[in-house]
Assembly symmetry: C2
Homo-oligomer: 523 residues x 2
């Protein structure tokens, strides 16, 4: 006779990660017709810019969204880049296998990281339109590979179909995804605004966008400087856990724990290894694979007592204040812009990050509806992580919380009406995202504090500008008054005195000059 | 010569789903020391209650949290149930393999569903304390299995160690997880409140809780009625997509599409199949495996034009208004309680759900700090999905949004100060969670609207009660006045008339009786 448990466990099944995300597509950002479309664009563009960065070239990206038939919710998204291309044998894995990619085991800043994004987009296309994703790619070896890719959801594997090869000298990748249940709109949450934000944070990229109605927009690059490629960074001793240490020990080629610590962690020197040995009492001559949990814990707690240099931040690649200002100028054409790149900081003991903020006032800055030039409607907060725009889930994001925590009146602005765009970018090899959709940064205390400081830095500069502007306007008004009444006074005075009316033009010029507002500040 | 792409792709790697969630533990709710502890308790208790439900027995669950050593952030969580037990060969899969479980391919209401929860807790234990999870289980076959389980993160596989078997007549499962980096606190977000909420929503469960200081609390069951086991429900034609249909077609045993539609979907009859055939023009005699995407799309769009009965809701198991009231009475001991279980509704065209709401006023109701009886501090919103408490991520949750959208003053309460507990439970085979941590319900329009209606239902009843209470108090005050002045008036009148003072007791009793407030309402 079977027990109850045996009866119940006959239904025990295993799922693939693709099947999991198929059922839970909302976790990847596929929720709502507008957001789903923007998510697909985001995944394609993220991959394109990351690839260009790896290849050390200026990205030239074209995004086209086209109608397929009468159904306005049936669209094709085409994303083309000029990066390194994908070797043929990797095509099914890149587009059809989740949790696979080139960025998984590195401690390095990049937009993508988990190997889910583009496969998720391929899956969304497949489950809404039933169509494979069409890929055209070449590594520049004279051969262009064209193929269709679908995901075998049960196995989490990509299937390549209709593959063919052409001759040609081109390098790059073009991806065509056919989607249903999506909607194109020029709203704050649509692809247009997403690409506009991407252009601001990636002033070295040229992004060409073709909308379903055929309208073409080029977000021209604001600099020809290729950003330096981010470098992998070894973890800092203060940032590793016992479990991390053992995971590293499993993969290392070092023969002893001592040499392993030096090769796999940053800021470890022979002297620091000696200190670790002394404080932990662990025999560091043993093989890394023989390290026990308890020894790893003792090593980690010894680390906490040792003075190390701060974690290296040489691998982090902020956009840079000048580039942010250029990007905001290029896209927003504001009357005032100012940006700051703060010094590196760490969170959770040893994970380095950098916060950048920029502020733009007037011109195209401020909340716009529909992306067209309409009346300004108050503060537009644009959030980024490693230069990728965060468009959704703003509510719980540390950037939103930090911006809200500022008393803006102290900086002379009413954020409900001011034509203001506030830009924040958080740069790290480990951005603490709150979900797989990567649209919101967790409220880590150090990160929150640093974002707040950065915003206050740029807000102070804005206050100075606005103050000068008010002063200038007052002076101008004063000058206007002189201009109006001086000639009258001069005439009346001359009449009274019975003398000839004096030439007051030089005097007026002098007064008007003071009202220029461009120059030095008065006392 | 290697191309740039070949150079870059030499780092191409694959991750297991365990490795993914190890790096992104926050997505499973492991963020912060208090929340991490509550998440472990949640996963264990969820599994225990689900298992009891499957076994059709009254759950008897013991949760103990113990200190391990001097370190207050080093704790052991022990969760024991009296359910069906786990067959030996499934132990490593249940506790050590993510995306594996008995609930994956069913359309059935349950707390757990994805086969991630308890393995996630085992992994959290392992990466913080380095210790395996100790499991003791018996299916009631006279044999008790004890074993340690760890997860091989690289392979997403469970490893069983130190297994041994004892003789004994016991049935159930006991799990011991050793954790570091956690913190015990009796706050709103801690295990105490979590279990208190669980007890309210599961009045058929007895939950015994032992805190680290040894304090024992028994949340006694408020009913001995075992809830009927939820039944798997076939999807409704209006709720399936073309992709769903093809996925079902792949697994069916039916020989023709026509019989497949009847066997796999609800509300399909021979007549409806005929209508589908006519409207779609698809040959329904072919094998299900031969169905093309385009045909599946035509079938799905034919479904939309056919009148079907509403989706079956026989498989949904709400708690029931009387049980919610009992649960709230048992735990909160309020002066007023009222609950409602609404009629089933559907969202996204065909996914059935039920909303229940309960309200408690006075007594232990309202926001308390530390779980102790302190002064009431306004509305306490307690959210549930399939009877499991949602403790975190309240911000974006549809329940919170619906509760906030109510104009509470219209119901005569100031939610900032009233001793009020509002209970909402959303029941569905597919609760639209916003993340893998399952702490927040997505803002689906139909779900939001229904929650709002449910809250207004109970709020109206509260208004009626409060109104009666105010009336009663007014009457009492009136009666008080009579009591005070009638004797005086009687005496003076008697004196004036020179008669004997009358006995006014019967009159006073009559007036006081009106002031009882318990009886009928006045006009």
């Amino acid at each position: 006779m079977r027990t109850l448990a045996e009866e119940l466990f006959k239904d025990f099944r295993e799922h693939s990660v693709s099947e999991f995300f198929r059922k839970n597509a909302a976790m990847l950002g596929y929720t709502g017709k507008i957001r789903s479309l923007t998510t697909v664009v985001h995944e394609g563009v993220t991959n394109a810019i990351d690839a260009a960065e790896e290849a050390n070239i200026l990205p030239d990206i074209t995004v086209a969204i086209k109608r397929v038939d009468e159904d306005p919710e049936h669209l094709k998204v085409v994303i083309e880049d000029n990066a390194s291309g994908i070797p043929e044998e990797f095509i099914p894995h890149v587009f059809g296998k989740m949790l696979a990619g080139t960025k998984l085991h590195r401690s390095m800043q990049s937009r993508g990281q988990q190997g889910i994004g583009i496969s998720g987009a391929v899956m969304f296309a497949q489950i809404t339109s039933g169509r494979p994703t069409h890929v055209v790619t070449s590594t520049g070896n004279g051969e262009i590979v064209c193929a269709d890719v679908m995901i075998d959801v049960d196995k989490n594997e990509g299937r390549m179909m209709n593959g063919k090869k052409l001759k040609g000298n081109w390098r790059g990748t073009k991806v065509e995804l056919e989607l249903k249940e999506v909607k194109y709109e020029r709203s704050r949450y649509g692809p247009y605004n997403y690409l506009r934000m991407t252009a601001i944070a990636n002033p070295h990229a040229r992004i060409t966008f073709i909308e379903p109605d055929g309208k073409l927009t080029v977000f021209e690059r604001a600099t020809d400087e290729v950003p330096e490629r981010p470098k992998p960074m070894s973890p800092h001793p203060w940032g590793v856990t016992a479990d991390d240490l053992l995971a590293l020990a499993k993969r290392t080629k070092s023969r002893s724990v001592a040499s392993f610590l030096i090769s796999e962690l940053s800021r470890m020197t022979k002297r620091k290894v000696e200190e670790t040995r002394r404080l932990s009492g662990v025999n560091l001559n043993k093989k890394p694979s023989e390290l026990s949990w308890e020894e790893a814990e003792r090593i980690v707690s010894a680390f906490k007592q040792i003075k190390f240099m701060a974690p290296p931040t040489s691998g982090l690649r902020p956009i840079g204040a000048a580039n942010i200002e250029n990007g905001m100028r290029q896209i927003l054409n504001p009357e005032f812009v100012y940006a700051v790149t703060r010094q590196p900081r760490v969170y959770r003991g040893g994970i380095p990050f950098i916060v950048e903020a920029g502020i733009a006032y007037g011109g195209g800055a401020g909340r716009k509806e529909g992306g067209e030039e309409v009346e300004a409607e108050g503060l537009d907060l644009i959030r980024f992580a490693n230069r990728a725009p965060l468009v959704f889930d703003q509510g719980g994001c540390a950037i939103t919380l930090a911006a809200k925590s500022i008393d803006w009146r102290r900086y002379g602005v009413d954020i409900a009406t001011a034509p203001l765009t506030l830009f924040v970018n958080v740069v790290s090899a480990y951005v603490p995202y709150t979900s797989a959709g990567k649209q919101s940064i967790a409220d880590e205390p150090e990160v929150f504090k640093e974002i707040r400081e950065a915003i206050m830095d740029v807000a102070r500069e804005l206050r100075r500008y606005l103050y000068r502007k008010i002063r200038a306007r007052e002076r101008q008004q004063r000058a206007g008054i002189f201009e109006k009444y001086l000639p009258i006074i001069a005439r009346k005075a001359a009449n009274l005195a019975g003398t000839q009316e004096p030439d007051i033009t030089p005097l007026l010029k002098k007064v008007a000059g003071l009202g220029d507002g461009g120059g030095k500040d008065g006392p």
